[in-house]
């Protein structure tokens, strides 16, 4: 055994790598995940997206890192001097023998506890089913009274009123005023929602406030408000002005709007859109009634043309003209009525009303007579009395005289209910036969 060997046996020599590995095992094995509070310094955001910083208090500091994936979920911007609370685990960076705090989550100091309470409340209410999609109700397409639960002093209420009135000028808005931030505001909001429900005349409730920090919006995360919204018999729209954070009120409401203005747009229909629709219906209405008259006129014409009923012919042509005339005057009349309605919506034109009514009454009497005549002159009524109509075999025209026929011509006899195909044997000149 050489002296060197004996020496090395007594000194247990290790290496930096091994020490770091053992320290790493020791620290990571013994110290569980923890929450640490401290002030950020030496903050840098690497090109890779990872965050590096130190966390210090008045007498000490440790190094910290937050990997890109967690950094992307941050809801605030960390910076030097900011007091934060970090959830993380200690680890050792072996190449340098440095230990560091590996941060999973970070929030401004003080909010951390609040967020944890919020998550706990969210889980509890979700478990009760308060946020279930199945609970979501629809609200009326044309609400007559819209309830507002918000602050009477904020920009939010003015935005709501302005947008709602612009869309539907006769909308009725009822505001249940409440504070929306600060101590006790949650109780007030819940009371305002309950008051609206006791009053019971609103068709839909818009509950919210303008944008603000998460602390400003906190009342809308409080259990009493969330339960009041979930318990409202009137459908609810939440309008808490903040794009990033979703409050528990948003989850409990039937519909979530991003801002108060957006809520007014969702709830109040647009009168301009609907007046276009009404005018389209009005044009359809006029066209349909005129078309109906045109079809009747054509029926009269086809009777006079094909069947050659001599005596009533004049009467029918005259009535056809009257139908035309009526159609024209009707269209003219409604056109005027529409213009009138639009110009002076609430003021009836008292002189035109009786005139139009008379016109319609007279026209109706005339058309009633015409309808009766049509009934008696209808060809099937004649045919069922034992007459038959003689047509060319292809049905193209009526044959009114044997002079038009030659032997072997093919013809069709139209009876009241059916027809027969026949062939001409011979034609006999002379006057009407003795039937």
């Amino acid at each position: 055994m050489s002296p060197m060997e004996a020496f090395s046996f007594e000194r247990r020599i290790t290496t930096p790598s091994e020490i770091n590995r053992r320290v790493k095992q020791l620290i990571e094995g013994e110290i569980d995940e923890l929450w640490v509070r401290g002030e950020i310094s030496n903050f840098t955001r690497a090109a890779s997206g990872h965050l590096y910083f130190s966390l210090k208090d008045s007498t000490a500091q440790i190094r910290g890192v937050m990997w890109k994936g967690n950094a992307q979920r941050l809801r605030f911007q960390p910076a030097d001097g900011v007091e934060v609370e970090i959830r993380g685990k200690l680890s050792v960076y072996e190449p340098r023998g440095e230990y560091q705090l590996n941060a999973a989550e970070m929030s401004p100091a003080g909010l951390g506890a609040l967020y944890m309470a919020l998550e706990a409340l969210k889980r509890k209410l979700a478990a009760e089913g308060l946020f279930d999609q199945g609970r979501k109700r629809q609200f009326p397409a044309f609400p007559i009274v819209v309830g507002l639960v918000t602050s009477p002093g904020g920009a939010a209420v003015r935005d709501l009123i302005r947008v709602a009135r612009r869309r539907w000028p006769s909308v009725r808005l009822v505001l249940a005023p409440t504070r929306v931030q600060g101590e006790g505001s949650a109780v007030e909001i819940a009371a305002a929602i309950e008051l609206m429900n006791r009053w019971g005349q609103a068709d839909v409730l818009i509950i919210g406030r303008g944008g603000g920090s998460m602390e400003d919006l906190w009342a809308f995360n409080e259990e009493i408000v969330v339960r009041a919204i979930a318990g409202s018999r009137i459908p609810t729209v939440s309008a808490v002005g903040h794009e990033v954070d979703v409050t528990l009120s948003d989850l409990a409401a039937d519909v979530r709007a991003a801002t108060p203005s957006n809520a007014a747009e969702l709830v109040v229909p647009d009168a301009r859109e609907w007046s276009e629709r009404i005018e389209r219906l009005n044009r359809q209405l006029n066209r349909a009634v005129v078309d109906g008259l045109t079809i009747r006129r054509r029926r009269i014409e086809s009777i006079t043309a094909t069947h050659g009923f001599k005596r009533p012919r004049d009467f029918l042509t005259q009535e056809a003209q009257r139908v035309d005339d009526l159609a024209r005057r009707l269209a003219l009349g409604t056109e005027r009525r529409l213009i009138d309605a639009r110009r002076r919506a609430s003021d009836l034109d008292r002189r035109r009303q009786p005139a139009l009514r008379n016109l319609l009454t007279r026209s109706r009497a005339r058309l009633d007579r015409l309808s009766a005549q049509l009934g008696s002159l209808d060809s099937t009524a004649v045919l069922s009395r034992g007459y038959a109509l003689v047509l060319r075999a292809d049905g193209s025209s009526v044959v009114t005289t044997a002079g038009d026929l030659r032997p072997e011509d093919r013809l069709m006899l139209q009876f009241a209910l059916d027809r027969a195909a026949v062939r001409v044997e011979s034609t006999i000149p002379g006057g009407p036969g003795d039937i």
């Binding site: 009326p140 009477p152 302005r162 005023p177 609206m196 219906l281 349909a288 309808s371």
Partner: protein, 95 residues
């Protein structure tokens, strides 16, 4: 979420709600367009349809929006009062 149907009547007037009037107007137009209707009926429903058009347009242009405040009145009962100044101002609101 599509808004649901609300056929209830305007509580302050005997006239049908806008939505009820609209629904009836659509029925009338459909019926006239189908054409299975007598002359008598077509004139009667036409007249009704024209009235509905007039009513609906009047409803859309009527600018009588009100803003009220709901407060807990005597015994905590809900009561409405005119909105405080600055909320009801027509000129501001309609700009």
């Amino acid at each position: 979420m599509p808004p649901k149907s609300n056929a209830k009547s305007d509580p302050e007037s005997a006239a049908p709600s806008f939505e009820a009037a609209l629904t009836r107007l659509e029925e009338i137009v459909n019926r006239l367009e189908r054409g299975d209707i007598t002359l008598d009926e077509s004139l009667a429903v036409f007249r009704e349809g024209s009235d509905l058009v007039k009513q609906c347009l009047a409803r859309l242009t009527r600018a009588e929006a009100t803003v009220l405040e709901l407060i807990a009145g005597e015994g905590g009962l809900p009561a409405t009062t005119p909105a405080r100044p600055g909320l009801e101002g027509d000129d501001d609101a309609l700009v």
